[in-house]
Symmetry: C2
Subunit: 350 residues, 2 copies
């Protein structure tokens, strides 16, 4: 087996009979090189199959044209669409994306952040806003542009492109109240380090408060974002002392898990119990009934995040871009059992 090492800039320079500086310029600022030499060099590049060494390049130039995204999980599609859009936008500008996942663990996330920085990421996209002040300082000290996504928080000065999680679920809860629901349950991922899940709960509470319902009556559960585990959490909630008539989920994956479990328990949705989701994943559209949920502008969020990051000059003022969400009513949220709204509802929906 040969031990060929990759051809270097120097090899190309020799082949093209120019200096390494010229080759470098050819690749980075082609307009500063005469056309004839440029052709010679590009020819040599092709002949040798040369491709620049990233490490060396980063070392010398302090730029990598690489951006990092650290997402809580790759295990389901929650972040996939936004990430895809983010990546597309980066590629179109000649930059590349590094992805890592933190498993919803703040310590792991911090490790990944440092790792990305050591790798020379020119900027970072993170999900949510709540993390240690220390890590924000670390990033700022090293002049790493940052964009936080999936939420909006005006109490600080970071770049942000997200939406108001609170008002989103407030609308949803208000709608549920209008349909006669009084006994609420809310389930989401662990909320301790997850500002989105926390805000969504807050939104539900506000919705109830607005209707003069005591928000402390909401039955609560936490479960990982998996269909099976969400099912168990649902079952647990349904055995609350006062059985909820609507189970609001922090995410469509959980909502689908709940729906599946409901079916297994012989409960009809929404006749016996309503279920709501969040995100508007494709997943929410394939189950029967479809999940009533909050539409999140995944792709726009990803795209705008990339724009912000690519335009970021260290030290410039930051931006907060708030995107809109809206309710998507499918079948999983219906009138509360035994509610006077029931007939009315059935009439209106067909």
């Amino acid at each position: 087996m040969s031990n060929a090492t990759l051809p270097t800039l120097e090899d190309v320079a020799r082949e093209a009979k120019v200096s390494t500086a010229t080759v470098s310029r050819c690749l980075n600022t082609p307009e500063r090189v005469s056309e004839t030499t440029r052709n010679k060099v590009l020819e040599a590049v092709r002949a040798l199959g040369y491709s620049p060494n990233f490490g060396a390049r980063a070392l010398a130039s302090k730029r990598t044209h690489t951006y990092g995204a650290i997402i809580p999980t790759m295990a389901n599609a929650i972040f996939a669409r936004g990430l895809q859009a983010f990546q597309e936008e980066l590629s179109s500008k000649g930059s590349t994306l590094l992805v890592a996942s933190s498993s919803y663990d703040p310590e792991e996330e911090e490790k990944q952040i440092r790792n990305m920085v050591a790798r020379g990421a020119d900027g970072l996209v993170l999900i949510g806003t709540s993390r240690s002040e220390e890590i924000y300082q670390f990033l700022q000290q090293h002049n790493i542009p940052l964009v936080l996504t999936w939420n909006i928080d005006r109490s600080n000065t970071h770049n942000m492109v997200g939406f108001d999680n609170i008002s989103a679920t407030r609308k949803l809860a208000t709608r549920a109240v209008a349909l006669g629901h009084r006994n609420f349950a809310y389930m989401s991922a662990e909320r301790q380090y997850n500002d989105r899940a926390r805000d969504r709960l807050e939104g539900v509470r506000q919705g109830l408060i607005g209707a003069n319902i005591n928000p402390d009556t909401i039955a609560l559960a936490q479960s990982p974002y998996s269909i099976a585990e969400a099912g168990e959490a649902f079952q647990h909630l349904m055995s609350s002392e006062i059985r909820p008539t609507v189970v609001m989920c922090g995410n469509d994956v959980q909502a689908v898990g709940a729906l599946k479990k409901a079916r297994e328990l012989g409960l009809h949705v929404p006749e016996d119990v309503s279920i709501t989701g969040f995100d508007d994943l494709e997943l929410a559209t394939v189950v029967e009934p479809g999940i009533t949920t909050v539409h999140v502008p995944h792709r726009e969020m990803g795209r705008r995040a990339a724009e912000l990051l690519l335009a970021a000059v260290p030290g410039a003022k930051t931006q907060k871009i708030e995107l809109d969400t809206y309710l998507v009513e499918r079948g999983s949220l219906g009138p509360a059992p035994n509610s006077p709204f029931k007939n009315d509802y059935l009439l209106r929906t067909r």
Copy 2:
């Protein structure tokens, strides 16, 4: 805004009053440094918040402890589970993962491969086996260990951990034949560059041949792996001259898309038409009826791929690990309409 640059090895050396070589050894081969100096150095590392520069390290050592995975898409969960397992295995051995996606485009994949190599990946995991000989040579020339996954192909000498796609769908088709189906349709992603999709079709054909059915009667369609587009392909197939009684899909995502469209068209599954999938994603379990599919050992494949890669010494003999798949019967595959098997089937499944 400060312009602090990251502390360097030299800073640490100065702080700890030792040479840079000692600091480096402290980090890489701690057992070759006396305990006292080691403590001094680690203290300095902590004090300065030092973390080594990846590029420089790679440049000097020619190793990055980084492995690349290039998957066709991140847009759905197909590869997520395997990737997760792959990543876990790598992390546990102190290595990290770089992910890129190719959008099922061979040229894009090739670009990503070269990119990973330039980034100094110590090894690569790729999906499927069919790509240009040129790129395989490139990888071999540069001594980049390689593991191919999701298929098995004994006609070459690459590392592989996958399964037999042909026999998997052959079983499935045979089962469908046993249920009385004679009019088959098969849909998958574009097959030109996708050996898995191609092999799965071949499996279906073999299944029919085994039952003396002309495989050329299979109605064919290609569509991206998205629910909406799969729905359209399904509709197209259902309007074939001879209407299929079973639509076999190259993937669960497509199967779910087909199922959804069937519902919209007022077709009952499996009474009016049967549908099968492939992969056994969670998605396949949440729809009604559940998708009858082929279980793929995602996690084991990811884990074994990592093992192979970590153990790979350039030039050593390669391995082919064949994993098993099995049928998972849910409700979407039933007896063919008007088939004498129908009652029998209903009895058996109660």
